[in-house]
Symmetry: C2
Subunit: 343 residues, 2 copies
DNA sequence: CCATATTTGATTGACGTACCTCAAAACATT
DNA sequence: AATGTTTTGAGGTACGTCAATCAAATATGG
């Protein structure tokens, strides 16, 4: 009833331990025919590598890089903090974890950042980036050289990645619409949606889900075209101030990107009590916004979970370990003034 | 810069490897003075046991038991399924995981169930039980014999347990109130709260949070005294039918326990469109209830996360490993018809 | 058929901890 | 001082994998 080991594999496939090792670790010098014989033994015995022994025996630690946009918004700061905390508390994983920030305002920036990573010394990349052809190609290129890639926060659907580490952003958008529409008590009015960049998949998905529910359930509210805030608090603040002066019928704002501090600071000055406001991510600004009644709800993705999950997934992909879908599902939390936990 | 090993400890504390081992694993035959010398070395070097090597080297697997109420409600079924799935996908943990169900309608039942566990062969217990003196004593007794105990789902605050694996039930109650009150659009009316057993801590906490927010924010709604449903669908159904006939002014129902299928089945027959209804936990009944518009929102705790977390915590307590608070925090999810994921 | 390349086998030593045995040393008791 | 008891040391094996070496077997091309 014990789990099979490499020895069992070798015996069952009638090859030596060395050959099993070559197959398992993708080392060269094994005939196709032999590989499939070992593969067959793996399937028949239901072998899966003992992660404990593997980690223990591995000489070189894995090198994983988190590539994030260079931007000084508060959400990125909390994300980076979570990554560093995970890295330090999980020293037993034998993984070197680095955070690299690169400008991503243009697709060329981002793909250049990817290409300038030393792919030789790299085992895995967790990347948060907009979805553009040049980025997709850079990612595919990296994968071709044996580097595992997972998109985090914002998906890259056509970049050949098996897993995405982040929330279901369509569901997040739907939730935002539900809260905005449900809490609103006006008979008509306009709803503004502020995103980061148009190419950001996370925003596209959120908008998609948001619009669907607004259409289905809250057709009396008019959803305005997207405004791009570029995840920048200053720009968001300007946009919101302008919006409030131009649209006296504004009934709600959905900030589907970063820059919450700009939103709350605008609301503090020119907001009104009938405005329903939903934002994303738990930061200082969003917490204060909830407490002060400027925001009605904040939709939160746990950055610690995202950091841990990304590392687990990269490691599993690299080592050929199974991935537990249910464990890696990132949940959406909804915080309001009423259920805000202590900081 | 490498992590210190037991060898480093031995050298630094000027004792032998065997002594370090005795101290680390709590084996007898070491003077107090020596123990503290080793302890000092542990602190100074910042030693923490390599979990991979420890699991690998351990001969006997740990034996962990989940003790749950014997009741055939749907939530318990999903919880048990999650436990078994975790057990089978984490064979590498070298832990034997058992589920024991025992009647818990009276405190004596439950404490008897605890006492009848073979504490010799037991390393850890994850227990879901009401909070009564006899249960508390039985738990304390078990701990005195070296068995680690974590309450799951429902806390046991005075049973000497370091960790609770479950959601913040006060916050859950607050959230329920927010959703009930926020979605409701009546100017007055009554709100019914249905719990399981009065002694269940999870229910007490939910009620606490629920009442607080209703008082603070929705004082125009009258919250009725608790009704005990004993987590039984049949009983809940009867209660709800009676309630709806007796209180025509009923504006909302908060089902803070199991038995959701009884609730939805009652609503299907005698419900009305102006009723706002909140329930807990994702089961077949609650999913169908959302889809059919009988329930407005369901507050969900991820049973898979609870099962995994309980095992991780028990293992960490038993092996003296650190526990990552942020990883073990169980999140609350809110599902509505609008953001319901595929099954 | 040979020479050469490719593929496979046999073996070994880490990795860090658990767990065991046996003997030596320190301590306590009379 | 002699005895027994408690505490400590020394050393080894095992866990399952990685990683490396060197030799042996097999395949390939001319």
């Amino acid at each position: 009833m014990d789990r099979p080991t490499v020895h069992d594999l070798a015996r069952h496939a009638r090859v030596s331990l060395a050959t099993v090792d070559r197959v398992l670790n993708g080392r060269p010098g094994v005939r196709e025919q032999t590989i499939s014989r070992v593969q067959k033994a793996i399937d028949e015995l239901g072998y899966s590598r003992d992660a404990n022994a593997a980690t223990l025996a591995r000489k070189k630690p894995h090198r994983f890089v988190f590539l994030l946009p260079r931007s000084n918004n508060q959400f990125l700061a909390t994300l980076m903090e979570a990554i560093h905390e995970t890295a330090s508390t999980n020293a037993a994983l034998r993984a070197n974890i680095e955070v690299v920030q690169a400008p991503m305002r243009t697709p060329e920036d981002a793909s250049h950042a990817i290409r300038s990573l030393d792919s030789e010394a790299l085992d895995g990349l967790a990347i948060m980036a907009p979805e553009t052809p040049s980025i997709r190609d850079a990612v595919l290129n990296l994968q071709a050289r044996g580097v595992q890639v997972v998109p985090i926060i914002s998906d890259l659907p056509n970049a050949g990645c098996d897993h995405f580490v982040g929330i279901n952003n369509v569901a997040a958008g739907r939730t935002a619409a539900l809260l905005l529409g449900g809490f609103s008590n006006v008979s008509d009015g306009a709803i503004a949606v502020i995103g980061g960049q148009a190419m950001e998949r996370s925003f596209v998905d959120r908008r998609l889900g948001f619009d669907a529910v607004m259409r289905e359930r809250f057709a009396h509210l008019e959803v305005l075209p997207t405004i791009e805030g570029f995840d920048d608090a200053g720009r968001v603040e300007e946009l919101v101030i302008k919006l409030l002066s131009q649209r006296p019928d504004l009934a709600g704002i959905y900030l589907a990107s970063s820059g919450t501090s700009g939103l709350t600071s605008a609301l503090r000055n020119v907001g009104n009590a009938n405005l329903r406001v939903i934002a994303h991510d738990m930061t200082r600004a969003s917490r204060d916004g909830l407490v002060d009644g400027l925001l009605d709800a904040v939709i939160v993705q746990d950055v610690g979970h995202i950091a841990r999950s990304a590392i687990r997934v990269l490691r599993a992909l690299k080592d050929g370990l199974p991935i537990s879908a249910s464990q890696e599902r990132i949940r959406i939390e909804i915080f309001t003034r009423e259920n805000l936990p202590d900081p």
